[in-house]
């Protein structure tokens, strides 16, 4: 009975204030001037992922034990999850709000855990959008090319990848050592893409034994040739025998060639290639390996874990030093003259510029010098029709080059230098090609420094930061580390260093996730609502009953993860 009870006399009344009916007649929602709304927001990890993965949601799927759904959620955006789970520098983790309470979620290890689950490893198909007979050529079988091929093939396109090298995978195969990325993982993920009907033809290098005219039958072409040329040292003696440019060194090892190195090796540079080269040199039998870097540890671009693992294996890293000359005897490396550096004023990118200290030269006795100072693309095969600038192919937001129907992605177009960026970039090109071949506009793609998603995300673009998390609901819990083979053991071969998560470790790590901005049905709002006006529907979503919600805001205030907004009522707006 929901109406106001008015008593005529005290005799009709109960002895005390007890409800005899309900207060449903009293629609307290009319008191409200602020309205709570469920609105998921963008987690910092999702925002940061260059491959555009829906990290926050797949972690919550892991919490619920929905491993296969979690894997499928990643595969929507990225077909190379076993690769990324191992070699991605994980910018997601750098943004992770959990860092404040025990360390960022080990997202890369979660991804690897899902990638390595037993199963058929089939890639999810998408709605067929390819026009009849639509064919696309992709130049380069690295992560950008593979990502683009995957996104097109799953939509029904006939895709052919042309690869210059005799092997498939680009930098994944010839740049990254097997102890970081085992070849069976790479083979498995490439095979899954091929099984969608993607043809891969190796040994065909555009501009040499393959001409642009040969691609006439293809309605679109993607240039994803990567950056495979090492930057030069530009010091005297660089041409001596025993100087092995980093990428060439790694490529030759990965192609199975015999590479001669001396017992004492100096690697020059501070990026991941330098680390890879140093650690590979150890595995080839070098007695001492040192890395020379002209700035300090703080400026070093390699991933922290990589640096730590490199040092664990016995590589000495010397900071603030730079080579001035490769000393030679009979055309062979005999030593390396270096000069000590100090950090001066910041450069245009904000990094402090290293300056030599006059008179601080010293000599190192080494037989092998591996410069790993970064890489560049060899774009000599391209004619004027495709515009280039600063050593990169110029593209617009739809990854289109200046030549109609020709797109470019990956390092050759972005210079970003990570697998995840290459995957995002290849996906962007695929979505653009799909539109072009369906006669749609190429406008409306996000800026090149933002990331594209295949699956639409109905979330607020606001990024949830640590200040938006309700700290009352979380305690510090330490980050879970993957187990590794002992350093003394692993330098003996090229087998994988990291051993991945067990299921219980993965679950524990996933449970540390704040689920930033993403409702995970924790029931907090439902429990706290003082007006009992939140309804829980089948435990997968909630609904406000605005007839009674007074707009007190307790739900939004309590929400551990910032998934409820308080919005001004329309009726109060002028």
């Amino acid at each position: 009975m929901s109406y106001i009870i008015t008593f005529k006399s005290e005799a009709d009344m109960p002895d005390t204030t007890v409800s005899l009916g309900t207060t449903l007649y009293n629609k307290t929602g009319t008191w409200r001037y602020m309205r709570p709304v469920y609105r998921n927001k963008t987690s910092p990890c999702n925002y940061a992922c260059p491959a555009g993965e829906d990290i926050v949601n797949y972690l919550q799927m892991v919490v619920r034990g929905e491993y296969e759904q979690a894997r499928q959620r990643i595969l929507e955006e990225n077909p190379l999850i076993g690769v990324c789970g191992r070699v991605c520098p994980h910018p997601c983790e750098s943004e992770c709000n959990r860092a404040e309470l025990g360390g960022a979620i080990a997202i890369h290890a979660m991804e690897r855990f899902l990638a390595d689950l037993p199963g058929k490893h089939e890639l999810p198909r998408a709605e067929k959008t390819a026009p009849r007979g639509a064919k696309v050529a992709i130049i380069g079988s690295g992560p950008a090319g593979l990502s683009c091929a995957y996104q097109l093939a799953r939509r029904g396109y006939k895709v052919t990848i042309f690869e210059a090298l005799p092997v498939i995978g680009g930098m994944l195969r010839v740049g990254i050592p097997a102890y970081r990325l085992p070849r069976d993982v790479l083979d498995r993920e490439i095979a899954a893409i091929q099984s969608l009907g993607v043809a891969i033809r190796t040994g065909l290098r555009l501009g040499e034994n393959l001409k642009f005219e040969d691609l006439r039958d293809y309605q679109a072409v993607l240039l994803a040739v990567g950056q495979h040329r090492s930057r030069k040292l530009n010091v005297p003696g660089e041409g001596a025998q025993g100087v092995l440019p980093g990428l060439e060194f790694l490529r030759r090892i990965n192609l199975g060639e015999k590479v001669e190195i001396g017992p004492k090796v100096a690697v020059i540079g501070g990026g991941n290639t330098a680390m890879d080269a140093a650690r590979s040199a150890l595995r080839l039998g070098a007695k001492t390996v040192m890395v020379l870097y002209r700035r300090s540890r703080y400026e070093m671009p390699a991933i922290d874990e990589e640096i730590e693992e490199t040092e664990q294996e016995g590589v000495r890293i010397e900071y603030l030093t730079a080579p001035v000359e490769v000393l030679t005897t009979d055309g062979r490396v005999a030593g390396l003259e270096c000069v000590r550096m100090r950090l001066g004023e910041p450069d245009e990118r904000g990094r402090r510029r290293p300056e030599p200290i006059f008179g601080s030269n010293y000599t190192l006795s080494v037989e092998t010098v591996i410069p790993a100072l970064g890489q560049e693309a060899d774009l000599s095969f391209l004619d004027e029709a495709v515009r280039k600038a600063a050593g990169l192919i110029v593209i617009d937001e739809a990854a289109a080059t200046s030549r109609h129907g020709v797109f470019a992605s990956g390092d050759a177009a972005t210079g970003a230098g990570t697998v995840a960026h290459a995957i995002g970039s290849g996906k962007r090109a695929a979505l653009a090609i799909d539109r072009l071949l369906n006669g749609q506009t190429l406008a409306g793609f996000p800026a090149l420094n933002e990331h594209v998603h295949v699956a639409a995300r109905n979330v607020d673009p606001t990024i949830v930061r640590f200040e938006d998390i309700n700290p009352a609901y979380f305690t510090p819990e330490p980050r879970t580390a993957q187990s590794q083979r002992p350093a003394a053991e692993r330098v003996k071969d090229f087998r994988e260093v990291n051993l991945g998560f067990t299921e219980s470790e993965a679950l524990r790590e996933a449970q540390r996730c704040f689920s930033c901005g993403t409702c995970n049905q924790c029931d907090t709002c439902w429990l706290y609502c003082p007006d009992v006006c939140i309804q829980r529907r089948e435990h997968d979503s909630y609904e406000f009953n605005y007839d009674y919600c007074k707009g007190c805001g307790v739900c939004a205030e309590e929400c551990p993860r910032g998934a409820i907004n308080m919005e001004e009522e329309l009726k109060w707006r002028k």
Binding site: F7, M13, D15, T17, V18, S19, L20
Partner: protein
């Protein structure tokens, strides 16, 4: 079965026999043993009750209020500062019409820390809507627990039974502890009219607008008025079952008395001795024991004092700015009646100072020697 037990334990046995279902309390000298032994009863299963440990007396009262709303027979005990801390929740118990029984061991309030007896702590709660009963002996304390639940559950107001610190609380006396069957016959289980239960959801103690508020307070006053007769009836029934009848007041050798000693609590026992002694000497002195303080038994007091020339009220308490509280209540009750006795308001024994037979003799002598009190408050045994 007769046992020699302290007043605190007499209360505990009463609670056990009453089959209280929820006990929540916070320890304070001189009350501690009341709940100490009850917690043992709960632990060893001789009392099937939930014992709730709390962090303060405010919470203790809140817990028994909750238990009582849920329909449980609930008990707590406290003293002095503990009772003061409960003050707010006392109103929730009475306004909620909850038949809670609480034992309060009278103790003076600080500062000037003092653990000894004085009635000011309980009397300061006289306007909270709780019934108040002052006990003379350990036996009466036990008996009052049993009657207290019965009275409370009849009129739906909480009962505070009061006993003196140490004089009763820690002093052992022979006490007849009745058997359970007899008690069960006297005190059936409590059935709440409305109670908090998941199957019949209700909200309690919501907002009441002015249009209904006064009616609820009117009903509380009516319940208080009814409580006098109910107490008399329950006391009489108690007498039939257990052989010890009680009334709201007790007249002792009041026949043809010219002078009545009027007092409460353990001072009554001392006064009985003095009255017997003076009667033996042929003096027309009687004693009126006030057992029930809230509601104040106006009719019984008027009837008892009709024809008495002088009433010497012995107060072990003070309302600062007025004086003895029983004296004030007595004057108020007598106002407008014909042939009112002259009231002599004595204050004595604050903070546990001994009240001896000689103290009572001195009080009687003062009243006999004066036609009227020489001052507004007659302070006894104050060094001034």
């Amino acid at each position: 079965m007769e046992k020699v037990i302290m007043g605190n334990h007499a209360v505990s046995y009463g609670v056990q026999l009453a089959r209280a279902q929820v006990i929540a309390a916070y320890p304070i000298t001189p009350q501690t043993q009341v709940v100490e032994i009850l917690s043992e009863f709960c632990a060893n299963g001789t009392l099937k009750a939930t014992f709730i440990k709390v962090e303060s007396e405010h919470s203790a009262m809140a817990a028994v209020v909750g238990a009582s709303i849920a329909g449980a027979r609930a008990f707590t005990a406290t003293s002095s500062h503990g009772l003061a801390l409960m003050h707010e929740v006392l109103h929730w118990a009475s306004g909620g019409r909850l038949p809670i029984v609480m034992a309060n061991v009278n103790r003076a309030l600080g500062p000037g820390w003092n653990v000894w007896t004085e009635q000011t702590d309980s009397l300061a709660q006289r306007d909270t809507g709780w019934m108040q009963f002052y006990c003379e002996t350990n036996q009466e304390a036990l008996d009052m627990v049993l009657q207290g639940f019965k009275i409370a559950e009849t009129v739906l107001l909480p009962v505070m039974l009061v006993l003196d610190a140490f004089v009763l609380s820690h002093t052992e006396e022979p006490v007849d502890v009745p058997d359970q069957e007899t008690v069960d016959r006297f005190l059936p289980p409590y059935e709440a009219r409305y109670k908090l239960q998941p199957g019949d959801p209700r909200s309690f103690y919501g907002l009441v607008a002015p249009e209904h508020w006064m009616e609820l307070r009117y009903k509380m006053q009516k319940a208080m008025e009814e409580a006098v007769a109910v107490t008399q009836q329950v006391g009489a029934e108690f007498g039939q079952v257990f052989g010890r009848a009680y009334d709201v007041v007790e007249k002792y050798r009041m026949d043809d008395a010219d002078l009545a000693l009027v007092t409460s609590g353990s001072i009554v026992g001392t006064s009985r001795e003095v009255v017997d002694e003076l009667r033996d000497k042929g003096q027309k002195v009687g004693l009126l024991k006030i057992r029930m303080f809230r509601p104040f038994p106006v009719a019984a007091v008027r009837e008892a004092l009709a024809g008495v020339k002088k009433a010497a009220v012995v107060d072990r308490n003070i309302s600062y700015g007025v004086g003895g509280i029983f004296a004030a209540e007595l004057k108020s009750a007598l106002y407008g009646t014909p042939h009112q006795p002259t009231v002599f308001p004595f204050i004595i024994g604050l903070g546990g100072r001994d009240v001896t037979p000689q103290s009572i003799r001195d009080i009687v002598a003062y009243a006999q020697e004066h036609d009227a009190p020489a001052e507004e408050i007659i302070w006894m045994e104050v060094k001034r």
